[in-house]
Symmetry: C2
Subunit: 126 residues, 2 copies
DNA sequence: CATCATGCTTGCAAAATGAAAGCATGATGC
DNA sequence: GCATCATGCTTTCATTTTGCAAGCATGATG
């Protein structure tokens, strides 16, 4: 991992926060073009590295690796033993991660209403 | 403005879209650390350039200028004549912009619940 | 006409992004 | 048991974005 070299935060005291505003804090963690797409994929049932890269947006592998690392750090995601017996562990949303659903839901609704040509994509589990 | 040089989209056909997913599309427009904070400030009653720079996160002026330009382009914001008689026009949310409220609300709720030390800030209008 | 406030733009160094290639590890084939 | 392959990353590096600081245009003010 290319962050967290010599710093050990993560448990609670996220230091580099721009302000106490909960929206700003959320954006400190999720404010980029990829993080919430990874969370979206997790909600759609994606668990393995390859599955995230297969999404239509085509996330670069170094970005995916970095984002999964940050999501692990912030407790939105955990790694669990893969159910299909694979040697590689699977990524799974925590309760904290699952509670991001309302944000994604609001974004989906807004996009569908205001941006022509958008449509919900078929997922692994409808 | 440093974008939209030689391209005329804006009316509808946002070309550079990564996928038809409404979440991805929303993130194409709002997926960065500042855009939604500008929208938050607009919701709190901010209308003038100086007011946005006064928020605790301290947005750089070049970023603010760029984001206001993008929000104007995407129809989330309009410029109207200032009510206080100032020569400078004020920025105001459109209906499309006001409908971003559920996204900000969900982020605020999530931040308050999961990130210690966050709290809603006093705004111009409660 | 000098000074100031507002609303930007410009310059530039540092950080993030992203395409492509490289690498480690375990399973598979023979 | 050794080459091959798939998965899951890491590294490299050119390009883009960020963000601090300074500059600049315009209209009000003294």
């Amino acid at each position: 991992m290319n962050r967290a070299v010599g710093e050990k935060e993560g448990v609670k005291g996220a230091s580099g926060r721009r302000s106490p505003c909960p929206v700003a804090c959320c954006l400190d963690l999720m404010g980029d073009r990829w993080t919430l797409l990874v969370v979206r994929d997790l909600m759609m049932g994606a668990e393995r590295f390859k599955e995230f890269t297969a999404s239509p947006e085509g996330i670069p592998t170094n970005i995916l690796s970095d984002r999964l690392g940050r999501l692990l750090e912030s407790g939105v995601v955990v790694q669990v033993a893969a159910a299909d017996g694979s040697r590689h562990p699977a990524y799974r949303l925590t309760e904290k991660g699952r509670e991001l659903i309302p944000i994604l839901g609001a974004m989906r609704d807004w996009g569908l209403k205001w941006e022509e040509g958008t449509r919900v994509m078929a997922g692994r589990e409808g």
